[in-house]
Amino acid sequence: MELSRRDAVAALAALGLGGGAAATYTRRDGGDDSDPQSGTEDEEIDVSDGRVERVAVAAAEVLYPSQVTGVEQFVTEFLGPRLNQDGHGDGIREAVGIVEDRAQRWHGAEFDALDPDRRDQLLREMGVDTADEAPDGTDAERVRYYLVNDLLLALYASPTGGELVGVENPQGHPGGTDSYQRGPP
C-alpha cells in the first residue's frame, strides 16, 4: 500500500505540526551543528538533518510492514517539521546518534549501509524491541521513544496506516464523523 503526501501531512497534523510548521522548516545540514550527542561515545557521529533522515528511512524500512511503499518520501516529509519541533527534534537527533554509534562500533558500518536484517538485529541487540518508550530513559528507551515509536506513530495515525489495520480514521487523525457510521467495506 502506497504512503502518500496526504499521509505525511495527516501524521503531522495528528502531532500538532500542521502546514505552518512545515513551511518554516529549515534544514540543518552540514557540519556546523552536528554536535556530538550524549549517549554516544564517538565525537565524529554526524547527526545533520540529512543523516538523520537517512537513518530514519533505513529504520522505517525495518519497522514498517513490507507491503508499504513510498516510505522514503513519507518519512522525509514527516521528519522535517518534527525535527524542527522544540526539544523533540533534538531528541530525535540524539536517538539517531545512539543508533549510529552502535552501528559503527558493533557492525563497522553506518546504520543505513547495513542490510535490513542487520538493522533489525542491531535494534534488538540494543534492547529497543523490549524497551518501553521513555523520553528521559536509557539509550534503548530513548531510541524507542524518539525514533522507533515516532515512526510507528506517524504510520499508524495516518489514513493509509489505519487502513492497513482496518480503521480509516485512526485515533489522532481528524477523519470526520462519517466513517464510524459506515459498515465494513
Binding site: 497534523a13 495528528a14 502531532l15 500538532g16 525495518v62 519497522l63 514498517y64 510492514p65 513490507s66 507491503q67 533489525d120 524491541d129 523490549t130 518501553d132 518508550e133 521513555a134 523520553p135 521513544y145 522507533v148 515509536n149 510507528l152 506513530l153 504510520l155 499508524y156 495515525a157 489505519g162 492497513l164 489495520v165 482496518g166 480503521v167 480509516e168 480514521n169 485512526p170 485515533q171 489522532g172 487523525h173 481528524p174 477523519g175 470526520g176 464523523t177 466513517s179 464510524y180 457510521q181 459506515r182 459498515g183 465494513p184
Partner: protein
C-alpha cells in the same frame, strides 16, 4: 508545550470593589461568572493555570503515547495535587480531575443527560436515601438553559427520559455501525436503544467547529468541538469579569455570619486577600469541602459552614459495570471517542435493593491500534499482523450505577500529609455499599444477555469485585432544608454563612446514575440567579 500553562494576567493582585468572587474556573464557576458578569463586578480565582489552546494537539500525543499517564496530559500530579485514600476502596483522585481554567471538563467525556424525575425523590419513590429539597420541575427550565449554554447534540428519541420543553440545540450524532449490530440483539431481547445527548458539536455551534473525529475526546479534544469550561470563562471575561489563574485559595477569612475574603497565594508565594460581597465556591466535589475544612476557626472549629458536621460527608461517585467480547465479524470501533447509543430502560425500575443504572453501547471497545502499535516487542510484518488480529471485532456494553450516600464515605483532611503549600491533603475515604454492588451484578446480567444474543464470545467483565469510579464527585456539601442534616439550603447557599453559595455536584443529596455535569450546569445557573437577586 509551555510548562504549566501560559501566564495570562501577570498581575495576580486582588480586584478592588468586587461584588462576587467565584472560586474555581471549571464549568460551574465559569457559568456563574458568565451569568453575573454583565451586572456585577466578578472575579474568578483559579488554582490551576490557563492552558494554551495551541498545545492541545501536543496534549493529544501525550494521550496516545505510553510514556505518559493520563494525569500527565493536563499536568496533574506532584506535591500540589497530593492526596490520600484511606477508605476500603482506593480512589485515584488525580485521574479524576483537572486543575486549570476549564476545570475537569478539559478531560471529560462530555455525556450530558438530565436526572430522572424519581432521582429527586429517592426516599419517597425508591425507599432509600434522602429526597432532594427541589424537584425536577424546579430545575427543568435551568436544564433547558444549560443545554443551550453547553451546546448539546441530542434527539427526542428516549422515551425513558424526563419531559422536555424544547429540542436540543443540535441534532444527535447518528448511531454507529456497531450500534446497528446491538440494535438487532436488543430488539430480540426487548431492550430499547436511543441516542446519547453529547456536549459536542454535531454541527458548527457557538463559534466552535463541528466534531472532526480525532477520537481522543477523553482526555483532550484538539478541535474544541467538545464543550469545556473555557467557553464560559472567555465569555465572562469578554463581559468584564477578571479571571486570575494560578491563584490558589487556601483559606476563607470570615466572621460569624459571612465570608470576608478569599485568601489566596500566587506562584511566587505571595498571599493576597480577595474581598467581595458574595462568594461562590466552585472547586469541585473534593476541593470545595477541603477548603471549608481548612477554613476552621474558633467560631467554626470543625470547619467553615460545618455546623451540621456534614461537610465532606456522603461522598459518592458513579460506578462502572461492563461486559466485553469479540464477534466473528468487523465491528468498526475506535473511529471516534464518544458514544452514540444508550439504554435508560432499566433506570426507573430502581428500588431499595437495586439502584438506577443506564447502559452504554461502546464505540471504542478494544484497544486503539495506534496505542497498541507503540507497545510490544515486534515491528514490521509481525506488528501489523498483531494489530490486525487485535483490532476489528471487539464489542462492549458499559453501565453507570448509582451509589447511595453514606456518612462513612467522606472527603476529609489527612492529618499527616501536606501539599506544597503546607496544607493538609484531601483524603478521599470512599465506601461503596451493597446496593451499588447488587446493581452492578444486575447490569452485568443484562450486558451478558445482550452479548450472548449477539453471538459474542465474552472476554472480560467489570463486576462488583473490580468496579471503579466514573470520576463524578458528589454529595460532600449536601443540600437540604434542615441545617442539622445538610450544608446548603435549597438555593445552594450555606446554612451558616449568608454570603456563601456552592455551585457543583457536592450539593447533590443523591447521585442518580446520570453523568452529573448537566445538572451541575443547571444548578450553577440557578445559583447565579440567586446571587444576582440577593445583590440587587
Amino acid at each position: 508545550m509551555s510548562g504549566r500553562g501560559s501566564a495570562s494576567r501577570q498581575d495576580r493582585s486582588p480586584v478592588t470593589d468586587a461584588d462576587v468572587c467565584v472560586i474555581g474556573a471549571g464549568p460551574a464557576g465559569a457559568l456563574v461568572a458568565d451569568h453575573l458578569a454583565s451586572a456585577q463586578d466578578v472575579v474568578v480565582l483559579e488554582a490551576g493555570p490557563r492552558f494554551d489552546p495551541g498545545d492541545r494537539v501536543e496534549r493529544q500525543e501525550r494521550a496516545i503515547r505510553p510514556a505518559f499517564d493520563r494525569p500527565d496530559v493536563w499536568e496533574m500530579g506532584g506535591k500540589r495535587d497530593d492526596h490520600a485514600a484511606s477508605g476500603e476502596w482506593f480512589y485515584p483522585l488525580n485521574h479524576a480531575r483537572v486543575k486549570g481554567v476549564g476545570g475537569s471538563t478539559l478531560h471529560w467525556q462530555g455525556m450530558v443527560m438530565r436526572l430522572h424525575e424519581e432521582d429527586f425523590a429517592s426516599g419517597t419513590e425508591r425507599g432509600v436515601g434522602p429526597d432532594w429539597p427541589i424537584d425536577y420541575a424546579d430545575l427543568q427550565p435551568y436544564y433547558a438553559d444549560a443545554e443551550t449554554e453547553l451546546g448539546v447534540s441530542g434527539a427526542d428519541d428516549n422515551s425513558f427520559a424526563p419531559p422536555r420543553e424544547q429540542p436540543h440545540p443540535m441534532p444527535a450524532f447518528p448511531p454507529s455501525y456497531s450500534d446497528s449490530l446491538f440494535a438487532e440483539a436488543c430488539d430480540e431481547l426487548g431492550i430499547a436503544m436511543h441516542s446519547v445527548p453529547n456536549a459536542r458539536n454535531s454541527e458548527p455551534f457557538d463559534g466552535r467547529s463541528e466534531c472532526a473525529g480525532y477520537g481522543t475526546c477523553q482526555p483532550v479534544c484538539p478541535s474544541g468541538a467538545k464543550y469545556d469550561g473555557t467557553v464560559h470563562v472567555e465569555r465572562a471575561e469578554s463581559q468584564g469579569a477578571t479571571v486570575i489563574d494560578r491563584a490558589r485559595v487556601e483559606r476563607l477569612a470570615h466572621n460569624a455570619d459571612a465570608i470576608e475574603a478569599a485568601v489566596y497565594t500566587t506562584p511566587d508565594g505571595t498571599e493576597h486577600r480577595q474581598e467581595a460581597d458574595a462568594f461562590v465556591l466552585a472547586c469541585g466535589g473534593v476541593e470545595t469541602p477541603r477548603l471549608l475544612l481548612m477554613s476552621d476557626s474558633e467560631q467554626y472549629p470543625g470547619g467553615l459552614a460545618n455546623s451540621s458536621g456534614l461537610v465532606g460527608r456522603y461522598f459518592m461517585d458513579h460506578l462502572f459495570a461492563g461486559v466485553g467480547g469479540v464477534l466473528d465479524e468487523p465491528t468498526r470501533q475506535n473511529h471516534v471517542g464518544f458514544l452514540t447509543s444508550e439504554s435508560h430502560q432499566f433506570y426507573d425500575d430502581a428500588d431499595e435493593e437495586v439502584g438506577p443504572f443506564k447502559l452504554e453501547f461502546f464505540n471504542y471497545a478494544g484497544s486503539s491500534p495506534v496505542e497498541l502499535a507503540l507497545t510490544g516487542d515486534d515491528w514490521g510484518d509481525d506488528l501489523l499482523e498483531r494489530l490486525q488480529s487485535a483490532y476489528g471485532n471487539h464489542v462492549a456494553v458499559g453501565a453507570l450505577v448509582e451509589q447511595l450516600p453514606r456518612e462513612d464515605s467522606y472527603v476529609g483532611l489527612d492529618p499527616e500529609r501536606t501539599d506544597d503549600r503546607g496544607n493538609p491533603v484531601p483524603d478521599v475515604h470512599w465506601t461503596v455499599g451493597d446496593r451499588a454492588l447488587r446493581t452492578i451484578e444486575r447490569a452485568n446480567g443484562i450486558q451478558r444477555s445482550i452479548l450472548q444474543e449477539l453471538g459474542a464470545e465474552i472476554t472480560w467483565t467489570v463486576g462488583p469485585d473490580d468496579t471503579g469510579p466514573a470520576y463524578h464527585h458528589m454529595g460532600t456539601t449536601r443540600m437540604g432544608t434542615d441545617p442539622a442534616s445538610s450544608v446548603v439550603d435549597p438555593a445552594c447557599r450555606t446554612h451558616d454563612l449568608a454570603n456563601c453559595w456552592i455551585a457543583g455536584s457536592s450539593v447533590f443529596p443523591t447521585g442518580g446514575a446520570m453523568n452529573p455535569t448537566l445538572t451541575i450546569a443547571a444548578l450553577a445557573l440557578r445559583v447565579a440567579d440567586a446571587v444576582d437577586a440577593t445583590l440587587e
